[in-house]
């Protein structure tokens, strides 16, 4: 099917690339790649990165024995090195109707830009990048690949993505957690308006499958501050009941509920050693990725 003509590269934020392009984006957990890369692997092997000394056990390959240690100590030790591999980074975009909220830019559009920028960065450092659009009915997946054409495929898919339907993407996330066989980095872009318990379920599920989980919590400024000066009828984007209220009266309680929700998500992430990044749609992409980039770069120094 011929691709329609559009500027798909708008989803790559040049400023963010210019700012963080030189920094490696490393995973926090060992990955299972199929080629050599920058990320720690769960396998030990020959490499330039020394890992540890271990006593030799009969049956092991004597080639990895450290003869110098044997000469000095008369004991058999094996010298082990970190294996380094590439990673598979899966970008999971929530395409439920709630993601189309936001002014001047919707949460979906903002998420697309984050995905485009990170995809470019990961592909640039030789990692495989995949994309899944989470829709209530079904997901649209682009398997992780590290080929240069992958970026174009991702960007085209993002360009076609629309937000619609009810917010029931947790099932799809469970399915994805199962379907991705080897360890991978799963970055979920969503407003996470689901019940915290269901969020906890899929995060636990992913972690159980040894995936590194990163949640990009995207919100709109209006949702965060809830400033309305007169009575408003709120119409649910996901088809739920509308609500007529005086916002100034319930603002405090609304903000309290939001704070509780955020704290619960943070708690889930803390428990599962997952990462959680909050961002609002009126902030720039480089600002939104600042912490993410800092964390990933830091991982290389640990």
């Amino acid at each position: 099917m011929p691709r329609k003509e559009s500027n798909i590269f708008k989803y790559i934020d040049e400023r963010a690339i210019a700012r963080f392009g030189g920094n490696p984006l490393l995973s926090e957990f060992p990955m299972e790649g199929n080629v050599s890369g920058h990320h720690k692997s769960n396998h030990k092997g020959s490499s330039v990165e020394f890992a540890e000394y271990r006593e030799y056990t009969p049956g092991e390959d004597p080639k990895r024995m450290d003869w110098r240690v044997l000469a000095r100590t008369d004991r058999y030790f094996l010298k082990e090195f970190e294996a380094e591999t590439n990673l598979r980074s899966y970008h999971l975009l929530d395409c439920s109707a709630s993601m189309k909220f936001g002014k001047p830019k919707s949460k979906l559009e903002y998420a697309k830009k984050l995905i485009g920028t990170l995809s470019y960065a990961y592909l640039n450092q030789g990692d495989a990048v995949g994309l899944s659009l989470l829709r209530p009915s079904a997901t649209e997946d682009i398997p992780a690949r590290r080929s240069p054409s992958q970026l174009q495929a991702i960007l085209h898919t993002l360009d076609d993505a629309k937000a619609k339907g009810e917010d029931q993407v947790t099932d799809q996330l469970h399915q994805l957690a199962e379907s991705i066989k080897s360890r991978a980095q799963l970055i979920v872009y969503s407003d996470f308006l689901d019940d915290p318990k269901s969020i906890a379920d899929f995060v636990h599920h992913m972690r159980d499958r040894k995936h590194e989980v990163i949640l990009f919590h995207i919100m709109d400024r209006q949702e965060v501050e809830f400033h309305f000066d007169r009575p408003t009828r709120f119409i649910d984007l996901e088809g739920g009941p509308s609500l007529l209220t005086e916002p100034s009266i319930i603002r405090d309680e609304y903000l309290k509920q939001m704070r509780i929700h955020l704290e619960e998500i943070k708690k889930i992430c803390a428990e599962t050693q997952s990462s959680h990044f909050e961002t609002v749609t009126d902030s720039s992409i480089d600002e939104a990725l600042k912490d993410f980039s800092f964390d990933r770069t830091l991982s290389s120094n640990r």
């Binding site: 909220f101 119409i235 609500l243 603002r251």
Partner: protein, 651 residues
């Protein structure tokens, strides 16, 4: 509480505006697509009761702030007995002022440039402002009659000076208050506020003599259970340098007048006072040695080169309160009847002149009398015979209407005649050896009454040859044929006596005098009935009875009932002086009066020099503060309870 701009109170309806705006806002809400509905729904569910209370409190604060603004713009006035929260306080039907109008009220209020009377009126003005719809009624101590005024400015107007202005009278406050209460009772006034203004001078309250009356007033106020409220306002006079003058007695000698004067002062020193003596308008000064606190002084005032009757005014030098510095006297026999005679018939003139000279001590014959010149009013009685010109008749008629008396004798004209005073029939004459006989008259009283020892006048012995019958008036003596021999007619305040014949030989035997002399003497006596006033004081019954007196000293429009001075009643001078007790500056102890009048509905106030006692200050500032407080409350209620803000951050 009352309002200077009550119409602004309609603005109370604006208090509904915040509620209406709230409802309109709800109706004209905006529509917003929203993603985080779960928080909204939870927020509404959990929206605390406190939030709802805050919302209502905010609305109430706004409404009350508007109410406060409306009250502020209505210019509320605080009043003494209606609290801010008692809006149901009923307006009195009548606001009554009981005014002590005694002479001492002319003194300045302590530390003020206003007299106590002026200040009292000002106080009443403020007092009545609280009830702008109530009827204003004033009763004062001189006449003790209630006067209803349509507006408060009337009290101070010059036209009403006779009723509310300063006087030289005394007063009886308890009597006046009682009269005021009587009026309230007789006119079925349910709710009244009464203000009594007085300097509490002993002589005007006579608390001992009026003890029963004061108790009665107290009981009447008490019985009304607050419907009638009596406010006493004490006005304290200033203690500045003042001399006062009263006369204890006087003595008249030939060419000398000796008044015994009591001069008092509150100035503790001895000095020589230059006392001005005014005798019939001739001014002179006599030095009077004065020593504190009082001096009795009897000067010898020379009356040589002065008329037989006249007046004297003695005045102390001007001081802070000049109303008690003057004293007025008359000298000579002021009761002497002044008779003017104008007769064209010579025999009649001679006879009447002779009769007038019978008692020179009590009758003065004005020889120069002529209706044309201005000496007409110098007479008390005129005896006229013969026709007068229309101008003369006009003057004489005015004289009669003002209280003068005239005795008329017929003219010579033999025809029906009518003048301004009487209508005469044509002259009738008897045939030879016949006379008109008088057969009937009032023997019991009046001019033709029998003498003290029961003897009749010799009217039947009169031989009357000619007669002109007067037709108007009351007949006091009749001819045998029923015609009137003598008539008495009243015009205005005066009396006209009409004889039907002349004391002339051609007319009658009246010239023999056995009837005419006693009748004229009785007419003279009847004309001299007014008592001679020696020591009259303003406000006395005599001064109230006297009408039409012409002031010789002072203002041409002043009246003896109110203002001291020399007045002229036809030929007589009358001296009216300031009430002597007004010079005794004794103030009674209010505590005693408060014990007698212990009703809780009687309120006692003292006038303050610097501010009015009943000033119902505009309390707009209170409402301004209240409004600001409500606005502040509204602002505080609008603030969040806790400062919840969200800033995106990393976990």
């Amino acid at each position: 509480m009352s309002f200077l701009q009550p119409i602004a109170l309609f603005g109370i309806a604006l208090a509904a505006v915040p509620i209406l705006i709230h409802l309109l806002n709800l109706m004209r809400h905006r529509r917003e697509s929203w993603a985080a509905m779960r928080f909204l729904l939870k927020a509404r569910e959990n929206s605390s009761r406190m939030s709802k209370i805050r919302r209502w409190l905010t609305l109430i604060s706004r409404a009350l702030a508007i109410c406060s603004l409306v009250f502020l713009m209505s210019r509320p006035m605080a009043s003494e007995d209606s609290s801010l929260i008692n809006f149901a306080s009923q307006n009195p039907e009548v606001v009554m002022l009981v005014m002590d109008r005694s002479s001492s009220m002319q003194k300045n209020l302590m530390n003020s440039s206003k007299t106590m009377l002026q200040r009292g009126i000002d106080e009443f003005e403020r007092f009545s402002e609280a009830w702008p719809d109530s009827k204003l009624v004033i009763i004062e101590t001189v006449f003790s009659e209630t006067i209803i005024v349509d507006k408060i400015e009337t009290i101070s107007s010059k036209e009403m000076n006779d009723f509310f202005g300063p006087t030289d009278c005394g007063g009886n406050l308890p009597y006046t208050i009682n009269q005021g209460l009587n009026w309230l009772e007789n006119t079925d006034i349910g709710h009244a506020q009464i203000l009594v203004i007085s300097d509490d001078q002993k002589s005007n309250w006579k608390t001992k003599e009026n003890d029963e009356l004061l108790k009665n007033i107290n009981d009447r106020i008490d019985k009304k259970e607050g419907l009638w409220k009596l406010h006493f306002l004490k006005l304290q006079p200033s203690e500045v340098n003042n001399f006062s003058l009263v006369c204890k007695s006087y003595r008249e000698e030939k060419d000398f007048f000796h008044p015994t004067l009591l001069i008092r002062s509150n100035q503790k020193d001895t000095q020589s006072l230059a006392v001005k003596i005014n005798i019939n308008g001739d001014l002179s000064t006599i030095k009077c040695p004065f020593s504190y606190p009082s001096t009795t002084w009897t000067p010898a005032i020379s009356l040589s080169d002065q008329p037989a009757t006249g007046w004297i005014k003695i005045a102390l030098p001007e001081d802070s309160f000049s109303h008690d510095n003057e004293y007025f006297f008359t000298y000579g026999n002021q009761a002497m009847l002044k008779v003017g005679v104008q007769c064209k018939d010579e025999q009649t003139r001679k006879f009447i002149t002779a009769v007038c000279k019978l008692d020179p001590q009590s009758l003065y014959l004005n020889k120069d009398f002529s209706p044309e010149n201005k000496t007409l009013n110098e007479n008390d009685l005129l005896i006229l015979q013969g026709s007068s010109s229309p101008e003369e008749e006009k003057q004489i008629l005015k004289f009669v209407k003002e209280g003068g008396r005239i005795v008329l004798f017929p003219d010579f004209e033999n025809k029906d005649k009518s003048d301004a005073f009487q209508k005469w029939r044509a002259t009738e004459a008897v045939s030879d050896n016949n006379f008109f006989e008088i057969s009937e008259w009032n023997r019991n009283q009046g001019i033709f009454a029998n003498t003290v020892n029961g003897r009749e006048l010799a009217l039947p012995y009169l031989k009357i040859l000619k007669r002109n019958i007067p037709t108007e008036g009351e007949t006091l003596a009749f001819y045998k044929d029923g015609s009137s021999f003598f008539k008495r007619k009243t015009i205005g305040k005066g009396v006209i006596y009409s004889f039907s014949t002349l004391p002339n030989k051609d007319w009658s035997s009246l010239e023999e005098g056995f009837v005419l002399v006693p009748v004229l003497i009785r007419i003279f006596n009847e004309s001299s009935e007014d008592p001679a006033l020696k020591f009259s004081e303003c406000g006395d019954t005599a001064s109230l009875d006297y009408k039409g007196l012409v002031p010789v000293t002072g203002n041409p429009s002043q009246k003896p009932s109110l203002k001291a001075g020399i007045y002229k009643d036809l030929g007589k001078f009358l001296a009216f002086n300031r009430k002597a007790t007004e010079s005794v500056n004794e103030i009674f102890d209010r505590k005693q009066l408060q014990e007698t009048m212990s009703s809780s509905h009687i309120l006692w106030n003292d006038a303050n020099a610097t501010r009015l006692s009943f000033v119902r200050a505009e309390i707009w500032n209170l409402f301004l503060i209240v409004m600001l407080l409500f606005l502040l409350a509204e602002s505080l209620l609008g603030l969040p309870v806790t400062n919840i803000s969200f800033s995106p951050q990393r976990l």
